[in-house]
C-alpha cells in the first residue's frame, strides 16, 4: 500500500522536480563564449614574434619596439645603448577574428603589413577544444637604396612570412606556443642564399604575478641545403619580462636579433648569445579603443 502513496506523491508533486533552481537558470544563461580561454598571452607578441592573440574588434595597438646595439660592443658604445633600432606598428582588430597591421622598421628601412586570422580558440566545457590557432601572413618591403645594375622592380624588394600559431594556456600562469613558419624572399643577396626558409618557433610565458610575466621565444631554423651563405646566422632567442600597467604593456628583454619582423629575425639574426652578441630590447604597447 505504501508504494501507492509514494506514487501518489510523485504524481501530484512532479511540479516540484520540474521547479528550476538557480543553477538550472545559470546553465541556461551560460553561452558558448563563456568557456573560451582568454589572455593566453598578454599581448599580440610573445617577445619579437607574434603570439596567438589578436586585438579585439575596434581596438588599436600602437607598438614601439626598440633594440639597442650589441652588449659586447663594450663601454665605448655603452654596451649597445648608444645605438638604437626601432620598429613601430599599428595593429587594428577589424573584427574579433581579423587583425590588420602596418609598420615601419629601421632595419633595412622596411615597411611591413600583416593580416592575422583567428581560426579557433581553446575552450572548456561542453564543446571543449585544447588549443587556440591563428594564422599570420606578413609582407615587407625593404626601401634601402640598392645599387644594383639594370632595371629594378618593386617586387625585388618584397619578402613574405607565414606562420601557423598554435598555443595552449595550460593554467593561469603557463602558456606555450608552437609556430611553424615559412619565409620567402623574392631576391636574395647572392646565389648561395636560400629564397625559402622553414622554421619552428617555440614561445612560452610564465606569469610571476598578475601583471608581470617571463616570456621566452626561440626559433629553430631548418638549415638550408648548402651552408655557404653570404651571412653567418644564428637561431633567434629572446628572453624577457612583460610588465602590464592598465592600458600599456612594457616588454624588457635580451635578444640576439636586431630585426623586429619575421623575415628579419628568423633568417637574418647575426648575434651569437655565446659571445655576448645580444641586444637589450624594450617594447611599449599602448591600446586605444576606436569603435
Amino acid at each position: 500500500m505504501r508504494k501507492y502513496y509514494v506514487l501518489l506523491i510523485v504524481l501530484f508533486n512532479h511540479n516540484i522536480s520540474q521547479g528550476q533552481d538557480i543553477d538550472d537558470l545559470m546553465n541556461e544563461i551560460a553561452g558558448k563564449d563563456l568557456y573560451e580561454t582568454t589572455a593566453t598571452f598578454k599581448s599580440t607578441h610573445v617577445v619579437t614574434g607574434h603570439s596567438v592573440e589578436l586585438m579585439k574588434k575596434g581596438q588599436l595597438d600602437f607598438r614601439i619596439a626598440h633594440r639597442f646595439g650589441q652588449l659586447n660592443s663594450g663601454y665605448y658604445n655603452l654596451w649597445g645603448l648608444d645605438e638604437a633600432h626601432i620598429h613601430f606598428g599599428f595593429d587594428l582588430g577589424v573584427m574579433d577574428w581579423l587583425m590588420v597591421g602596418i609598420g615601419r622598421g629601421t632595419y633595412e628601412k622596411t615597411y611591413d603589413g600583416l593580416l592575422k586570422f583567428k581560426l579557433t580558440k581553446q575552450r572548456e566545457g561542453e564543446n571543449s577544444f585544447p588549443i587556440s590557432i591563428s594564422i599570420l601572413n606578413t609582407m615587407s618591403a625593404n626601401t634601402l637604396h640598392l645599387y644594383k645594375p639594370g632595371k629594378e622592380y618593386l617586387t625585388d624588394r618584397l619578402s613574405y612570412a607565414h606562420q601557423v600559431l598554435v598555443a595552449r594556456k595550460f593554467n593561469d600562469r603557463f602558456s606555450f606556443q608552437l609556430a611553424p613558419s615559412y619565409v620567402h624572399k623574392n631576391i636574395v643577396p647572392t646565389e648561395l642564399d636560400p629564397n625559402d626558409t622553414f622554421s619552428v618557433g617555440l614561445g612560452g610565458r610564465f606569469k610571476l604575478s598578475k601583471r608581470v610575466s617571463v616570456n621566452m621565444e626561440y626559433y629553430y631554423v631548418v638549415p638550408p641545403v648548402n651552408d655557404f651563405r653570404s651571412l653567418e646566422t644564428y637561431n633567434p632567442l629572446s628572453i624577457g619580462f612583460d610588465i602590464e600597467t592598465g592600458g600599456h604593456v612594457f616588454q624588457v628583454f635580451l635578444s640576439n636579433s636586431v630585426a623586429m619582423i619575421e623575415k628579419g629575425f628568423i633568417t637574418e639574426t647575426t648575434g651569437n648569445w655565446l659571445d655576448g652578441g645580444v641586444h637589450i630590447g624594450f617594447n611599449v604597447s599602448r591600446v586605444f579603443s576606436l569603435y
Partner: protein, 184 residues
C-alpha cells in the same frame, strides 16, 4: 479509516507543494550594472544575463551571475577585469542569497511599490559577506520588478588594486541591480 487519513495527508501535502510552486518567480533577464569614478577613468560595465528567483511564500531571494558576462566598452578593460581583478576563472560566479526583512508585513499580490530591505549573503570574488540591501519592489499586473542600488568596497572582497593603477580605479563601486519577474 487509517488509509483514508493517509491519502488525505498526501493530498493536502501535494496541494500545498503546488501552491508553493506557483509563488516562486524566476528570471533570467536581470541586469546588473556597476559604475566607479576615479581621477583618471570612469569604469562601467553591464551584465544583462542575471538569474534570480524570488519566493513569494517565504520571502527568500536568490541572485546569481557569471562574472565573464559583464560587458565593458573597452575590450582590454574587460580582459583586465576578468584576469587581474575578479579572477573569473577561479571565481566564475557572483551570488546573493537572502530573505526579505519583515516579510509577513508586505502583501506583494497588491499592485504598488514597496521599499524593503533584504538581508543575506553577498559573494564576490569568492568572499562572502553579510549585507542588508535596500530594495524597491514594484508590482503591477504582469511584472514584479526588484531594484537595488548599493556600494561595494573592493577591499571587502580582497580585490587587489596595485599602487601603479591606483589613480585609474576607484575603491568604491556603485552597483545597480534590476530584475523583472514575469508573474504567472
Amino acid at each position: 479509516m487509517k488509509q483514508m487519513k493517509q491519502v488525505l495527508i498526501v493530498l493536502v501535502v501535494s496541494l500545498f507543494c503546488i501552491e508553493m510552486q506557483a509563488q516562486r518567480l524566476l528570471s533570467k533577464e536581470g541586469k546588473v550594472r556597476f559604475f566607479s569614478s576615479a581621477p583618471l577613468e570612469d569604469i562601467e560595465a553591464t551584465n544583462d544575463a542575471v538569474a534570480a528567483i524570488i519566493d513569494l511564500s517565504s520571502g527568500k531571494v536568490q541572485v546569481s551571475m557569471f562574472i565573464k558576462n559583464f560587458e565593458f566598452k573597452k575590450a582590454l578593460m574587460q580582459e583586465h577585469f576578468n584576469e587581474n581583478y575578479m579572477e573569473s576563472e577561479k571565481f566564475p560566479k557572483s551570488t546573493f542569497t537572502g530573505t526579505i526583512d519583515n516579510f509577513s508585513s508586505y502583501d506583494f499580490t497588491k499592485e504598488g511599490t514597496y521599499e524593503v530591505t533584504i538581508t543575506g549573503k553577498l559573494t564576490i570574488h569568492g568572499v562572502e559577506t553579510e549585507n542588508t540591501l535596500p530594495v524597491s519592489i514594484q508590482v503591477n499586473k504582469k511584472v514584479l520588478t526588484a531594484k537595488s542600488v548599493f556600494i561595494v568596497k573592493t577591499a571587502d572582497y580582497k580585490i587587489e588594486i596595485p599602487a601603479l593603477v591606483r589613480d585609474n580605479i576607484a575603491k568604491e563601486v556603485e552597483v545597480t541591480v534590476e530584475v523583472p519577474f514575469t508573474m504567472k
